[in-house]
């Protein structure tokens, strides 16, 4: 376990921002912390980094306790904050240089790493422009470069794609994937944008009111794959016959003579048979993926 948290609680002025959070991240995995704003994602991250202290509970990052050995943790963890801030009057290169100096990386090595990082995030052409002239997407990529020059074991990214256009977000997600695949980092990211998290994360944990309400891989969370069929010329008998089948999950009238059936994967062939026997027509058969959104809404409607 690279990151481990047990019974984490944090109180901010009489409000429990975290209320007994347990979760763990394995080596070289991309873990997504999901949750609406104010669910405790940023608080969790700040505690992991030793930037704020938990009211109670145990945290371990790479075997170190961030409360007792913050420096050991900060040496091994690269962090990108939500709306990451830079020194506006300094250039991108100078901003990265500050990070390498604070990490005590020797100048020669630092120079090499900075060039590599700028290349990877695609900011080499603008590296000498002051950050004040950068767009939000460019800043976010520079934030990733910040993590890259440090070469940490763990990268913690707080809302890496919030407020960026879809194209920019896709670039960031690709960079995140590369942090793991090429640099061998463990990545913990937080987000409230489900469809994006879905694309890169191996596992996700859903946070709600300072607790983990669900955790697992995408497949585990979304459950078995179902199909939806739309049938025309459906008679009442057809509906009765279909509902009698084991694999039929639900049927629903969609208009005169039109029926929608949700079924398990195994029933696909039988469906065509039955519908044909009853003189109906299958207009459409499509897999129905549970999006994370549905899971999300299921938890938050409670």
């Amino acid at each position: 376990m690279i990151i481990e948290a047990k019974g984490l609680r944090k109180r901010y002025n009489n409000v429990w921002a975290l209320d007994g959070l347990d979760f763990s991240v394995q080596e070289k995995e991309i873990y997504g912390l999901l949750g609406p704003n104010g669910s405790g994602k940023t608080t969790t991250i700040l505690i992991l980094l030793g930037l704020t202290e938990p009211t109670s509970g145990v945290v371990r990052v790479c075997g170190h306790d961030p409360v007792r050995e913050p420096l050991a943790v900060k040496r091994l963890v690269g962090y990108m904050a939500e709306r990451v801030g830079f020194y506006e009057e300094l250039s991108a290169r100078e901003n990265l240089r500050l990070i390498t100096r604070l990490n005590g990386i020797p100048e020669l090595e630092a120079k090499k790493r900075i060039e590599e990082a700028l290349e990877q995030v695609g900011l080499r052409e603008v590296a000498d422009r002051p950050v004040a002239t950068f767009s939000h997407g460019m800043r976010q990529r520079l934030g990733i470069a910040d993590v890259l020059v440090k070469k940490p074991k763990v990268a913690i990214l707080d809302e890496p794609t919030s407020g960026i256009d879809p194209e920019g977000a896709a670039q960031i997600l690709e960079l995140i994937r590369r942090l793991r695949d090429e640099e061998g980092m463990t990545v913990l990211l937080s987000s409230h944008l489900l469809h994006q998290v879905q694309r890169v994360c191996d596992r996700v944990g859903i946070l709600h009111k300072g607790r983990l309400v669900a955790e697992g891989t995408m497949a585990e969370l979304t459950g078995p794959r179902n199909y939806v069929a739309v049938i025309e010329n459906a008679t009442a008998e057809l509906r009765v016959r279909l509902e009698a089948e084991e694999w039929a999950v639900a049927t629903e009238e969609m208009g005169p003579g039109r029926l929608s059936v949700t079924l398990e994967e195994v029933g696909r062939a039988r469906l065509f048979q039955i519908v044909a026997e009853e003189g109906g027509l299958v207009l459409e058969l499509r897999p129905r993926t549970h999006t994370l959104e549905e899971i999300y809404l299921r938890y938050f409607q409670e």
């Binding site: 709306r83 990451v84 500050l98 990070i99 990490n103 910040d146």
Partner: protein, 309 residues
Amino acid sequence: MATIFWKELADHLGSKRFFILTLIILVVAGTSVYLGIQGFRENPGGVGPFVYLVLFTSSQGGLPSFLSFLAFFGPLLAVLLGFDAVNSEFARGTVSRILSQPIYRDSWINGKFLAGLATLAVMVVSIALLVFGLGLFSLGFPPEGEEFARLLLFVVVAIVYLGFWLALGILYSIIFRQTATSALAAVATWLFFTLFLYMIAGVIADQVAPVRSDSPAEQWIRNENIRDFVLRFSPVALFEEATLPILVPTYRGLSILVLLTQPGIPTSPLPLGQSLLVGWPQLVGLLALTSVCFAAAYLLFMRREIRIS
């Protein structure tokens, strides 16, 4: 900490804010020193043995002396170097970026304070050297050893004094989240100590020990003592009282009234050690104020939650 120190120092020295204020101080200080030299040329015998010290303390042609000018304007520069030290980092979102690097939290605040102090030291030392050069150039003879020692001491005290204002600025930058608020608070404090406290001290003294033109000398002295007592709450007054014996060797810490009513007190210059003794309590007070102010900023910063919400 060295990294932070050099970055902050570069920021300070390169900032327009520092450039403009230093320029103002340079111009006015240069003028007052120049007028001092003119005065000396017209009346070479009238200033006594310590010519270079007189350059720093004489006021000519309506311009204040270099000393009172530094006491008045130096704080503005110092406080303006510090007022946005921490809150601007919060506003830009750079706090978590820097503090997530492997550095101790206090090395950040220490680095900021030391960089500010170094900036002020560079300013004070270069102005002092400039005055030396100007004197050397126009007077044609170098300062004596004691003059040099006194000026060095003066520079050190001035840096401690400006350090107080810097620490105050940094303290405000931690207390107030908005840079505009902390700038206003800083300037208000500066005005209070440099202007209003002088008026208030006079009012209080006149209330407690009213004097008329025919009041006995004791009453006048009582009035003056009360006034001094109130004034000593101000670092500005402390600075002036601490540096006066250093720059004016004949100064004995006694008011002019005492000298007038108690004849027989000598007016010859004191040796350096004795001059230092005269201003010692004020000096210690100044040092204590600076330390307390920085300690408060330090503690507040260490306890501050990083969370921006």
